[in-house]
């Protein structure tokens, strides 16, 4: 029995330290009145959904050994363009219920632009996506400098409504997409190809993987997921503003890395980043519950994040020692 316990503890430490961290935070939460209420827990999940989508998108790109800074701008660009199409440009032609597919397509195209330039034209992805980060954001600022409020329900539905009267649709969507991603990564050809090229692009190429196409596909997926996250956020806020998601890309990186995604490519798991997104969301929630002064919030958040990142970094070391 103790042997089993030992093995369990070791597995947790070697592979799933982020889950241990999550449990720790929940335990801390238990001491705080109000944390365990259904209402609060749902709020935690709800707030996590948009970031969760961006992190998942970034995860795909990081697995290929690349990166995409522009996701936070795609996050704003896709819903903005969709709103403009539906409300201003083609109001008679497009039914507002089509907002979701339109957003996804725009996200896909935005990602494809990044993928095409960085993969096919061989330009450093950091620089390419830094440029598109500016361009995409610039388009949003140009189109809706003042923001748009009072959006029709068809647009805010995904981020705003609740199923069965309590469970936010956004949370369901978030779960569904993580489930899909899990299947794609572990049980689909695409996932196998991504891991192969992430760990050794030359070997993957020689083994017959279509390296370029797989890379571009990942950029497309990332754009789509960021766009989806944006739509959920727009719904939650019931408005679209020009600085929607601005600065969030760093938090997305934090989530991906905290969840065990390697920056060099080929290392990471969907479960890990899922837990990491929850960790980030719970930290924010606990700060709210503890009533941390807004003026020091960032300091506290930064310090907690630092501690969390240090703790999960132990994982790699434990594994090395065990090997």
């Amino acid at each position: 029995m103790s042997g089993f316990l030992q093995a369990f503890v070791r597995t947790v430490f070697e592979r799933h330290l982020i889950w241990a961290l999550l449990v720790l935070l929940v335990l801390i939460g238990l001491t705080v009145p109000g944390f365990l209420s259904t209402r609060n827990l749902i709020n935690v999940l709800w707030a996590a959904a948009p970031l969760g989508c961006v992190v998942l998108g970034l995860f795909f790109v990081l697995l290929t050994g690349s990166l995409d800074l522009s996701l936070e701008s795609t996050f704003a660009l896709a819903p903005t363009l969709a709103i403009m199409i539906v409300l201003n440009w083609l109001p008679d032609l497009v039914w507002p219920g089509l907002t979701m597919p339109i957003v996804l397509v725009i996200g896909l195209v935005a990602g494809m632009v990044n993928g095409f330039i960085s993969v096919r034209l061989g330009v450093n992805a950091f620089l390419v996506t830094l440029a598109t980060l500016l361009v995409y954001r610039g388009i949003v600022i140009f189109l809706i400098p003042e923001g748009i409020y009072y959006l029709p329900i068809e647009m805010t539905f995904w981020g705003e409504s609740r199923a069965l009267g309590f469970l936010p649709i956004a949370v369901i969507i978030w779960f569904v997409f993580y489930g899909l991603a899990f299947a794609l990564i572990n049980y689909h050809r695409l996932g196998k190809n991504i891991f192969a090229l992430g760990n050794n692009p030359e070997a993957a190429f020689i083994a017959g993987v279509d390296v370029d196409r797989t890379r571009i596909t990942c950029f497309c997926i990332a754009g789509m997921l960021a766009a989806l996250g944006g739509l959920l956020e727009v719904g939650r806020l019931q408005s679209a503003v020009a600085d929607l998601g601005q600065g969030d890309i760093l938090m997305a990186f934090a989530g991906a890395i905290l969840g065990g995604t390697g920056l060099a490519g080929g290392v990471g798991s969907v479960g890990g980043i899922f837990a990491a997104v929850l960790v980030i969301s719970i930290i924010e929630n606990l700060m709210n519950l503890f009533g941390v002064e807004p003026s020091v919030r960032q300091i506290v958040f930064g310090l907690i994040l630092l501690a969390a990142i240090y703790l999960t970094s132990l994982q790699g070391r434990v594994r090395v020692r065990a090997a």
Partner: protein, 524 residues
């Protein structure tokens, strides 16, 4: 008048650059270098030649202090290296410098930075004197007739220039007296090689206290540029000759020695009987890439194993890569089962039924951090693909398990990361990866490279018995023994062309004959 007893050197000692006395190196299970005695004179260019595994590299590594000897000493520059004290730093202090095959420079720094790294010229209290350093480097570049400037970024220069700079650094800047050149000529163009070796001659004549030791695979080079040559075989010195008094043929005979075929059970197995009447499985007609190989023609039948033999740079590797679509063909035509094929990328070749095992396993084939399962299946995911591209995972695991058991891969499970396995087991997994694509043709570049001695026969057995049973095989090997053991025919590449074809069953199908042709040794 005082009679001072000066420590006198005997004439023999005065002429001596370095001396090896009973130098021995043992590795677990192998005696790599066995009691080598050797004296190299000042002003001499000394060649050390032998086949792969003869112990040349271990020998020079010991002289350079990189590997401590198990026994024996290196005497040089008034000091000695032995089992107790050998370090690279000490060897350096004795005036010994090894120019490795792959120069190790800081690629982002300039030529001057690299050449003076750690021994910068200074003026006053430790300030650098860049002008003086640049002048010195410009002189080195001049002397070596290189196309580079002192301020070039090292990483921008071609490998051969970097290698020559490493040589220039040792001779002109560090003023090493004993220069060891380890296969330095392998990556040099012919013209460069001749110029470099010519320079060695000039330098040796100019400063009488220098000596050069040239480790080489190439008999022709050793014949042309050395004063004396030492032949190694199985870790021992088997001959030492004045180069002028020997010839290529007798050197080749010393190098190959009494030829025995060892370790490979399939040597006795009769050759497969390819039906000459049948349409050739793979036919190459006057292939060339315009640079590394020309006029390559051959026919491969089902059930046949063809070997490509040749030195590094002979064009054999380039030819194999071109057949797989890894480099473009400029001339000629490839026909697979009669129809012309041309591949722009490996996946097209795989789809057409050609599988390729690359030479550099860790760089080109192994997918690190991933389990045995993924490494086995990556080229044949199509086989287990279900609706919408999702994989029938259990089917995949069953196949991976089956193949792993079939070749007796030693692994705790198919979920173990491939990194945990030995070279031989990794190679078996890669062979499984190839065979799962059910290819018509296997292209294998050094299938036993980096594999334990004990595991090699089993791998060759797989090539001979399993792969050749269903398909045709083209195999490259630096080991003539393996070619003789495994192949029905051996095509010898020499300077980008096929110079000889040896067939199993004929009297000249021997290790010695292949070796001589590979070296370009003329028939008497």
């Amino acid at each position: 008048m005082l009679a001072v007893a000066l420590p006198t050197e005997s004439p023999a000692q005065a002429a001596e650059s370095y001396r090896l006395a009973g130098l021995t190196r043992r590795f677990p299970g192998v005696l790599a270098v066995d009691r080598v005695d050797l004296t190299v004179r000042r002003g001499e260019i000394h060649g050390i030649i032998g086949r792969n595994g003869a112990g040349k590299s271990v020998l020079v590594s010991m002289i350079a202090g990189l590997i401590p000897p198990s026994a024996g000493t290196v005497l040089a520059g008034g000091g000695q290296l032995d089992a107790e004290n050998a370090t690279p730093v000490r060897a350096h202090r004795l005036g010994i410098s090894l120019i490795p095959q792959e120069p190790r420079f800081a690629r982002a720094l300039t030529v001057t930075d690299n050449l003076f790294m750690g021994r910068e010229l200074t003026v006053g209290p430790g300030f650098l004197d860049p002008a003086a350093m640049r002048r010195a480097v410009a002189e080195v570049i001049d002397r070596l007739e290189l196309e580079a400037s002192p301020t070039s970024r090292m990483g921008d220069l071609p490998i051969e220039t970097q290698q020559l700079l490493a040589f220039g650094k040792a001779v002109f800047i560090e003023h090493a007296r004993i220069i060891l050149l380890d296969e330095i000529t392998a990556s040099l163009s012919r013209q460069r090689k001749t110029r470099l070796l010519g320079l060695l001659r000039t330098l040796a004549a100019e400063s009488a206290d220098l000596s050069f030791t040239l480790i080489s695979h190439h008999i022709a080079e050793v014949m042309e540029f050395t004063d004396r040559v030492t032949v190694m075989r199985d870790g021992r010195v088997v001959a030492m000759r004045a180069t002028a008094k020997t010839d290529e043929r007798s050197l080749a005979n010393w190098i190959v020695g009494d030829v025995r075929i060892t370790g490979t059970a399939q040597a006795a197995k009769p050759a497969a009987k390819p039906r000459a009447a049948a349409m050739p499985l793979l036919m190459a007609d006057r292939l060339g890439d315009g640079r590394d190989f020309h006029d390559l023609s051959f026919q491969l039948q089902r059930g046949e194993v063809i070997g490509f033999a040749g030195l590094e740079g002979s064009g054999k590797d380039a030819a194999l890569e071109a057949l797989f679509g890894l480099r473009p063909l400029r001339t000629g035509e490839v026909r697979l089962e009669g129809s012309p094929v041309r591949f722009a990328a490996p996946r097209e070749a795989l789809k057409a039924g050609i599988a390729f095992l690359p030479k550099h396993r860790e760089v080109q084939a192994v997918i690190q951090n991933r389990p045995v399962e993924d490494n086995t299946l990556i080229s044949s995911l199509r086989r287990i693909q279900g609706p919408l591209g999702f994989l029938r995972v259990h089917e995949g695991q069953r196949i991976a398990r089956e193949k792993t058991a079939e070749l007796q891969v030693k692994t705790p499970s198919i979920f173990t990361p491939i990194d945990h396995l030995s070279g031989g087991n990794k190679q078996k997994i890669l062979i499984n990866r190839l065979s799962l694509t059910v290819p018509k043709v296997f292209l294998l570049n050094e299938p036993t490279r980096g594999v334990d001695l004990a595991a090699k026969p089993a791998l060759l057995q797989v090539v001979r018995d399993r792969q050749a049973a269903q398909s045709g095989v083209i195999m490259l090997s630096e080991s003539e023994d393996e070619l003789v053991a495994c192949c029905d025919r051996v095509l010898v590449f020499f300077r980008s062309r096929i110079t000889r074809v040896l067939e199993r069953g004929k009297a000249d199908f021997t290790v010695g004959e292949i070796y001589k042709s590979v070296q370009g040794v003329e028939e008497p």
